[in-house]
């Protein structure tokens, strides 16, 4: 009887502890489940959101998913975007801010066939051939401005590596942590160059939210970012659990490529030996440079203040 009573009491106290309804939040990704989001899935799978009483649903995106606009319009609370999208969005009147940057070094690059003997992005632009790149994107405009007399033919970028595999004169934009690995798994050797090396260095895979929401919900936001950081610490150390889930969500990337990508991307996320509490932190200087670059490219007509573009947690 006593035992039974004990159980009942235990049950009630457990119910009371989790009594406060977990806050339901959505985190909208701007691409399919891949290692660039590994830490988010790790946070979810290992219960780092849950232990902070957050019920976070991670939704995959695709080419052209307007995550920034969805966040700006409060359709989702949190989303993933590139740093340049945040600047453009604010310049157009929204209050979207960056809260956590996964990539300190942006892994956006140009992938080429090694047989072509290129040594840099300049070589790619100054030789004939085809380059698939998102038209009108800040990185495309930046590269065009760097190599104004380029000879390469720019064509739309549709994602994936299908055309790369069949066309020997075809180069394409990529995440150096993703497409080159997929192409190699399909038997094509690749070579890739970082766009960051040409001087355009926006933070990549940035968690965003509306400033208005963040100011009203400081604790919830801090909890979410803490959980994300914990998730990334785990993913950097042990990516297998998250990878197993992501492979099921996105069969286009096989388990071996995922494992390889998780390893390759470490250097883009944090310096070896740097303290993990620095994960995701951003600096004023980097944001200011980005604002100036986008202004020079005429992508924005007014310069948003760098300190309003991000908040470190």
């Amino acid at each position: 009887m006593k035992l039974l009573l004990g159980f009942v009491l235990m049950f009630f106290s457990a119910a009371a502890a989790s009594g406060a309804q977990a806050a339901k939040l959505q985190l909208a990704l701007n691409w399919k489940a891949e290692p660039e989001f590994g830490g988010f899935y790790a946070a979810k799978l290992s219960g780092y959101f849950q232990k902070r009483n957050l019920d976070v649903a991670i939704t995959e995106g695709g080419a052209g998913t307007p995550v920034v606009q969805m966040v700006a319009n409060s359709k989702v609370r949190f989303g993933i975007a590139a740093a340049d999208e945040v600047v453009i969005s604010q310049a157009r009147g929204t209050d979207v801010v960056a809260l956590f940057a996964v990539y300190q070094i942006n892994p956006q690059g140009i992938m080429v066939h090694p047989e072509r003997g290129f040594n840099s992005i300049a070589d790619v632009f100054n030789a004939p051939g085809t380059l698939a790149i998102q038209s009108g994107s800040p990185h495309a405009l930046f590269l065009q401005s760097q190599f104004p007399r380029y000879k390469v033919t720019l064509v739309p970028y549709a994602g994936g590596v299908a055309t790369f595999l069949v066309d020997a004169n075809y180069s394409q934009q990529c995440f150096v942590t993703s497409e080159p690995l997929i192409a190699r798994r399909k038997g094509k050797p690749t070579q890739s160059f970082l766009i960051a090396d040409t001087g355009f260095k926006p933070y990549g895979t940035v968690v965003i939210a509306r400033r208005q929401y963040v100011e009203k919900n400081q604790k919830e936001t801090r909890d979410l970012i803490d959980a994300v950081r914990e998730g990334w610490i785990e993913y950097l150390r042990a990516p297998d659990k998250a990878n197993n889930t992501m492979v099921k969500l996105n069969p286009a990337m096989d388990a071996v490529s995922m494992k390889e990508a998780a390893e390759v991307q470490k250097l883009f996320i944090i310096d070896a030996g740097a303290p993990t509490q620095e994960l995701g932190k951003m600096t004023m200087e980097r944001w200011r440079t980005l604002v100036n670059q986008l202004y020079d490219l005429k992508l924005i007509k007014n310069k948003p203040a760098a300190e309003k573009l991000f908040q470190n947690f």
Binding site: G64, P66, V68, Q69, A72, N73, E85, I88, S89, R92, G93, T94, T130, Q134, S135, G136, S137, T153, L154, V155, P156, A158, G160, A162, T163, V166, L299
Partner: protein
């Protein structure tokens, strides 16, 4: 008198346009709707003016691809429909595959078109032709199958050849349906061309794609507006040809007296 009539006939379609534009403009100006979600008509106008050269070049590229695609789908679609109408067996064997063209989600096969036809106009034309061919096949087939039996009997009585029967009876009899298929196809060809341009490059599709990347929805709307205009121009051209060819004899185009 005719001027008055023109104004009166223009008013019904213009009024909703002016009202809705005014409403959106007011909503954006007063801050009820943020301009990054829906652009004020005045912003779209400004984009139309500022980017007029780029938009005009893009519109011309899209129009020429859509026209080429339409021509392709019209020739192949009509020939296909004639072949199908000539035998029940052929129709049973091939018609289901024609339906395939109607249901194929063009955006999902567009990347394949690039691999088959390469970047640029060939892909765009193929995309325009694929999405516009089904209405042509379906309408032409319907038209060819609905010749009045009495007239067929008459032609048979005078021992007309199959060729004579086709050219002098069945095709003229089917022309209203052929034109109505063409009308639907011409709008679709513009849509198909723009989708093809998302992947193949060039034209209004490219403008929309890059404006979307830059969060410039005023420019997206400007390009959409022009594409609607292209569709209207094509449908208008088909109407004109239809009136010129059928006007003298077919009830569908004869003016009420």
């Amino acid at each position: 008198m005719s001027f008055k009539i023109k104004i009166a006939s223009l008013l019904p379609p213009l009024l909703p346009l002016i009202l809705s534009m005014g409403l959106v403009e007011t909503a954006v100006r007063l801050g009820w709707a943020p301009s990054y979600l829906i652009p004020a008509p005045s912003e779209v106008m400004r984009s139309l003016i500022d980017d007029r050269v780029e938009l005009a070049v893009a519109a011309w590229t899209t129009l020429s691809s859509a026209l080429a695609g339409l021509l392709l789908s019209f020739t192949t679609g009509t020939l296909f429909a004639i072949a199908l109408s000539s035998s029940d067996l052929a129709r049973r064997a091939f018609y289901p595959y024609a339906v395939f063209f109607q249901t194929v989600p063009i955006i999902s096969i567009a990347p394949l078109l690039v691999i088959w036809f390469g970047f640029g106009q060939p892909t765009v034309i193929a995309s325009a032709a694929i999405v516009s061919v089904f209405p042509i096949i379906a309408s032409t087939l319907l038209g060819l199958k609905s010749t009045e039996p009495a007239l067929i009997d008459l032609f048979t009585l005078y021992s007309a050849s199959a060729r004579q029967m086709l050219y002098m009876l069945k095709i003229p009899f089917a022309s209203p349906q052929i034109f109505s298929g063409l009308r639907i196809a011409s709008g679709l060809a513009v849509v198909g061309a723009i989708v093809g341009e998302f992947i193949g490059g060039g034209g209004l599709g490219s403008v929309v794609d890059s404006a979307r990347t830059q969060q410039r929805i005023d420019r997206v709307f400007a390009a959409v507006l022009i594409s609607a205009l292209l569709g209207a121009v094509l449908v208008g051209a088909v109407n004109l040809i239809s009136a010129l060819t059928l006007g003298s004899w077919h009830t569908s185009e004869r003016k009420a007296t």
